[in-house]
Symmetry: C2
Subunit: 254 residues, 2 copies
């Protein structure tokens, strides 16, 4: 599938304009080098970016759309271990083969760097390697949070947590949003189920139940209005502070 992706190069100026996590907060020299290496790739929903157990020839970050990182058991059961939203980094430095499959959950645009070339920049630009380490650290935190969620929480609690994380991410990315009352789930029920470790049926039942109880209002299958943030927090089983608007360190989703 990889072959089907459209590839294009971009200028240094445009690279900075794409609100890209890697390019942000690094020296302009490093940014220029990155822009030289950057290749824009576009994927249709369902296409594979990196295969499980496949070569990791490039890394990069999401410009638009959503990627899913998923793992599959040999009998077909699968689990999404992370969703990558715009500005999130994907791929893994210093790893030749991937532990997870990375697929486009929606149509997506990615800013990609040849992995070897990207790693080679670490020697000249220390802040780049540091940035990658910090990103990995946040991903690990998120993974550990998710283990707790998968192992101990009910389906309804998981959904509440998921909605709150989406709200927080939205607040963090655009300040001008309408008080964060509207949440758009960026993926279909199937992916939501695979991420939350449950089934589409159970998701449906819990979501409808929350709507019946007035905690949320269903605008469409992907769009919800949060009517009672406080009760959603109670359901999620988390301390309110964990979902305080625009926290000190914005944790990534995947």
């Amino acid at each position: 599938m990889e072959a089907s992706a459209t590839v294009a190069s971009i200028g240094a100026a445009r690279c900075a304009s794409l609100h890209c996590a890697i390019c942000a907060d690094i020296s302009s020299a490093a940014r220029q080098e990155l822009a030289r290496l950057a290749r824009i790739r576009t994927y249709k929903a369902g296409e594979t970016v990196l295969a499980e157990s496949g070569q990791i020839s490039f890394v990069g970050n999401v410009v638009s759309g959503v990627l899913r990182m998923q793992k599959t058991l040999h009998d077909g059961r699968q689990q999404i271990v992370g969703l990558l939203l715009p500005s999130d980094m994907f791929g893994r430095v210093f790893a030749s083969v991937s532990n997870v499959a990375i697929e486009a959950a929606t149509d997506a645009t990615l800013c990609c760097y040849n992995r070897a070339s990207f790693e080679a920049l670490f020697d000249r630009f220390r802040d780049l390697e540091h940035k990658v380490l910090i990103s990995m650290s946040e991903e690990l935190d998120a993974a550990q949070d998710w283990m707790l969620l998968l192992a101990t929480q009910t389906v309804m609690e998981r959904i509440a947590t998921f909605l709150l994380i989406l709200t927080r991410k939205k607040l963090a990315s655009d300040r001008r949003s309408s008080g964060g009352r509207i949440v758009v789930v960026p993926v279909a029920r199937k992916d939501m189920a695979a991420y939350l470790g449950t089934t589409v049926e159970s998701i449906s039942r819990s979501v409808q139940d929350m709507a019946r109880r007035g905690v949320i209002r269903i605008i469409d299958a992907q769009t919800f209005e949060i009517r009672e943030q406080r009760r959603l927090l109670d359901i999620s089983g988390h301390d309110p502070i964990e979902f305080a608007p625009v926290p000190r360190g914005i944790r990534r989703l995947g």
Copy 2:
């Protein structure tokens, strides 16, 4: 509890002799610096090394015993997100507060470094920072594997996987072992349950069942003989190659 730990400094020679993951495979200059910073701390089973949401004042690696990394929901439910065995690194660089609690699951000896001093060495010894990045990468892989396990596998499958991972780790650490037929679970049932996302009762039932079916033999509650490796693999739901003896990259447990 932290205060109760016994602290002692060690000489450069002894540091290398402790088969310590951080000191291995780095320049002798770096190893000397590390030895100067190293402090040996000992903990009794149950003591806290780093508290959840607490300051991360030091990092290091396990010399003997087992640490558990665990997270607790505010209603008390908790989950072990990683077990740290001898030679594993613990703590988190560039993070001031901890996302997980790190506790001694058994009596343990740790080789510790002041976090700030440790991080300061990164400028002079690039291979040290690289080593930390690789270690974090492996921890992330393990976390993603565990998410798959927690979300999709049955309790029996999880136990089989756990035993196979322990077998592989044992094979990797001492070659001279007796064909890897004997597995010693290094923690009590309660921790095993918290790690596998289940209860002590369910563990007990599944283990007894595997013994009844002749897959394993129970020597004592912590010690098992693997009688039919092949069937254990089938139960685990993994490809045999994933548990090939002494694989290329030895993945950590937590």
